[in-house]
């Protein structure tokens, strides 16, 4: 049996050919069975590329299941720094799952490669003529080399990573060094892992003409960037932001936010003198209790937060209304996933925009932050605690599954040590002595933000009854219409002033007159870099605006106005079905909806540049047609 079938009769053009080497610009897709330890091997592969100085991004496309279902891991290697999901077929597919093999064969780009476990031969009908098959009897090798069934399973993954090192011309010494780093403290594991890498490497060297036409070359393009997922960054941001109290309930994809917070606290928040914790985390009975804990702690002056996803947000909405109305600072991290209901719990979406912006019954409005990268997850989560205390209201950090759970190449974390926490308007005992009259809801500064007091501050002054019922300036219960309206108007004023505390939109404008304006937020920024370049190749200049917060900054309105003039077109790109951000913009800024063309991708996978570019071109063509006919 020949394991290796290299087809040379592939078509030219966009496709890979033996003569046309593809260096540092391709996608490797791993098809595995979940629960077999493949994720850490695949991650090792991505990290090795990173250490070679080549920009890389990784997407884990996994099922809502613990063991036995197909799972994929896509590594995009791009020295052009295109780090969004590329979409389309992959140059190299590592097919390790018999369940999905047909689909995986189909996912190889013409002229590309399929590395598969040839311990079980493929059928003739499966042998696509336009791709190259690299068979490697991985199971047979493992059966021979290892006696423990778990090892036989685990080392399969390491073996194919070793083979990839040979096939793609990776720095093998560096890869072995990575294994040593990863298992630091567990030295016993280093030798068998390195041995497995060697097995794969040597097999490929002996049986295949290495390297392939797709390959990597060492570069120095990573600079200060790190490869990390957003949830880790969010958890770390909460530590730096001074969070001490957490109530939480596990839900994918937010779980690791709290797990990472807990592990960083364990490292960084133990009192050195006593060994006691400077934090308290409670895994509570449900999401209602999770946010209740954060609200109770926020009322009592601790920085508190919780993290959840769509279904959890639904459960939390009553409490979000209470926190808005009673003006309690707290932070909620919403790592969005595909809804509605349980939806696709392990797939990404940006579909909780409206549910969060207006969370709860009655007239409510919540403050939202939209991080685009792990760096911003870190920064905005830390900042959210300041803003929450300054505005005395919940702050919702709107992450998503792609951002939260996938590794992204991102600017390294940094912190300004001289920047003090902003605790907002909280009166001390001394200040209470100085004020003549204290009213919890007296708008003393005419900015809608009143002074609050914490329980236990002063023996005689400053106590008030915090209540979800209507109240007067002194927190007394009232059903007087004038008092109620006064309070609601003040809350409205506070949310208008909120803009002064929030990050401003990021606008990228070229010197040349742009024909297009692209508005987006969160993880959509990853494919935008590439989309803008692709559009430029088509002769279209696009300016872009990234929304970073809600309530909206006035610059958004200005950008839309400027990019709607003279046959220009504004697009809003969102990862949901119903154009939720567009609706919010139209509603809040009183924009004519016809000025905004929506690009909506909601299939659960991160939006791609191809999708954006195609949608832009189609819309522009339609505009042309309408102009001619109209």
């Amino acid at each position: 049996m020949t394991d290796i079938t290299i087809n040379t009769n592939t078509e030219a053009g966009d496709n890979i050919t033996a003569e046309n080497h593809l260096v540092n610009e391709f996608v490797v897709r791993f098809a595995n069975t979940n629960g077999t330890g493949s994720a850490s091997a695949n991650n090792m592969f991505a990290k090795a590329i990173l250490r070679m100085g080549i920009p890389v991004s990784a997407k884990n496309i996994f099922p809502s299941n613990i063991q036995g279902m197909p799972t994929w891991y896509e590594v995009r290697i791009s020295e052009k720094n295109y780090l969004g999901r590329r979409g389309g077929k992959s140059e190299l597919v590592v097919a390790m799952n018999a369940q999905s093999i047909d689909e995986d064969i189909d996912s190889v780009k013409t002229g590309g490669y399929l590395l598969y476990d040839s311990s079980r031969a493929l059928q003739e009908s499966q042998m696509r003529a336009d791709i190259n098959f690299i068979g490697m009897p991985i199971s047979t090798i493992c059966l021979k080399e290892y006696s423990d069934p778990r090892q036989r399973q685990l080392f399969k993954n390491v073996i194919y990573v070793g083979a990839l090192a040979a096939l793609l011309n990776m720095d093998f010494t560096l890869l072995k060094g990575l294994v040593r780093d990863q298992f630091k403290g567990k030295e016993k594991l280093i030798t068998p892992n390195v041995y497995a890498l060697e097995l794969g490497y040597q097999y490929a060297k002996e049986h295949v003409l290495c390297p392939l036409s797709i390959r990597v070359e060492t570069r120095d393009l990573v600079n200060n960037r790190i490869l990390v997922d957003g949830n880790t960054a969010t958890g770390l941001g909460a530590v730096f932001g001074g969070a001490t109290v957490v109530g939480w309930y596990p839900i994918t994809p937010s779980t690791s936010v709290i797990e990472k917070f807990a592990s960083y606290c364990h490292r960084l928040r133990i009192d050195p003198a006593t060994g006691k914790k400077n934090y308290a985390i409670v895994q509570v009975e449900d999401e209602l209790a999770a946010i209740g804990v954060a609200i109770g702690a926020g009322w009592n002056g601790a920085r508190a937060f919780t993290a959840t996803s769509g279904p959890g947000v639904s459960l939390m909405t009553e409490f979000l209304g209470l926190a808005y109305f009673t003006e309690i600072p707290m932070v909620l991290v919403n790592v969005q996933r595909s809804g509605p209901s349980t939806g696709m719990p392990t797939r990404t979406q940006q579909s909780d925009i409206i549910a969060c912006a207006y969370a709860s019954h009655g007239d409510t409005k919540q403050v939202l932050l939209f991080p685009e990268s792990p760096t911003e997850c870190f920064e905005l989560t830390a900042q959210a605690f300041d803003i929450a205390e300054q505005l005395q209201t919940p702050i919702i950090v709107m992450s998503d599954l792609d951002l939260g759970m996938n590794d992204h190449l991102t600017e390294e974390f940094s912190w300004q040590d001289d920047k003090a926490y902003q605790k907002g308007k909280v009166l001390s005992a001394k200040q209470l002595d100085e004020v003549e009259v204290f009213g919890r809801y007296l708008d003393v500064d005419d900015d809608g933000i009143c002074y609050r007091t914490l329980p236990g501050t002063h023996p005689n002054k400053g106590a008030y009854f915090n209540r979800g019922t209507s109240r007067n300036h002194f927190a007394g219960y009232t059903e007087k219409s004038a008092d109620y309206v006064d309070n609601m108007d003040r809350l409205s004023k506070k949310l208008v002033n909120a803009i002064n505390f929030l990050p401003v939109p990021e606008i990228k404008q070229g010197k040349k007159n742009a024909q297009l304006g692209l508005i987006f937020f969160g993880t959509t920024s990853h494919p935008i870099v590439e989309a803008v370049e692709q559009l430029k190749e088509q002769g279209l200049i696009a300016d872009s605006l990234r929304i970073k917060a809600f309530p909206f900054h006035q610059n958004i309105e200005k950008f839309i106005e400027e990019h709607s003039l003279n046959n220009k077109q504004v697009f809003i790109i969102e990862q949901n079905r119903d154009a939720q951000m567009k609706s919010l913009i139209v509603n809040e800024l009183q924009i004519d909806p016809n000025k905004l063309a929506s690009i909506l991708q909601f299939d659960g996978l991160p939006v791609t540049s191809d999708f954006i570019v195609e949608a832009v071109l189609t819309q522009l063509a339609n505009n042309q047609k309408n102009k001619k006919t109209g």
Binding site: V245, G296, A297, A302, S414, P459
Partner: protein, 350 residues
Amino acid sequence: MSFIKSKFRHPRLPVNDLGLTYRDYEGALSTLCAGCGHDSITSAIVQSCHELSIEPSNVAKLSGIGCSSKAPNYFLNKAHGFNSVHGRMPSVATGANLANQELLYLAMSGDGDSASIGFGQFAHVVRRQLNMVYMVANNGVYGLTKGQLAATADKGVKNKAGDLSLFTDIDLCVMALQLGASFVARSFSGDKQQLVPLLKAAMSHKGFAFIDIISPCVTFNNHAGSTRSYDYVHDHVTTGAVADFVPIKTEITSSGESGECGDVCLHDGSIMRIQKLMPEYDSTNASQAIMDIEKNKQEGKILTGLFYLEPTANDFHEINNTNDTPLNKLNQDTLCPGNRVLTGINDSFR
């Protein structure tokens, strides 16, 4: 009923160790119905806090929604209060307590609030051993929505409108005992002699203290046939032991006849002096307490008094190993690891 509370204070009102009178522990004027059992509870709380010389501003009052949950407004107006959402007070109390373990947390709930909409939160706050006093004003009926039966109403009784209670009733004391509360008692709003010592002991206890207080609803559940009316409770109430509270500074004298009396030392050094009335009574045995409650119920009696007390139980913060300094008082230097730490963290992602 007068709607203006008199500000007059008699100059010779007795003062406590803090120099405060009973009036310093009062709250706003009650808007509950005249004769409501909840007002008697309020008054017992005021008396207990005054006699224990608790600094009013060191108390945090918490409640959910319902008639019961209005009550915190009517005591300790120098204390901060938090009237939360229906059935969710336990989680708010948890967060508040986690943020500052130095305050005394007095929580007031009702049968709807704790046995129905907030049953889950009730169960879990008990498990958590939060250091708080959790009171349920139990009248077997929904007052604010005008007379629907509560889950604590005895199966088979009728409400004022004649609707039958069809399903198994929930006994919150039995639940609290099963879920590991370290202080469980039941009392009657009409029996201050029993209620005040229990409240004082609960306030002195470190850990989760639960008191179910039968508190008749004069408007919707005081009719013949109700098992939560004043008359019915008066006629059917019984107790396994008389518990008296002896404050810290009182000199302890011998407890008298052996076997009948026992002293339990509370966390703060005060004493719970228990005089047994039923031979099987044992305040250290939660399973026995559950059996006693059930047995009396079968006999048509409402068992009250201290059911269970575990004075050395660990509270949440001991279990969590939280720093003694309240979390809300830690400063940025303690909380923020600083930029230097980030270098190592960044390197772990390369």
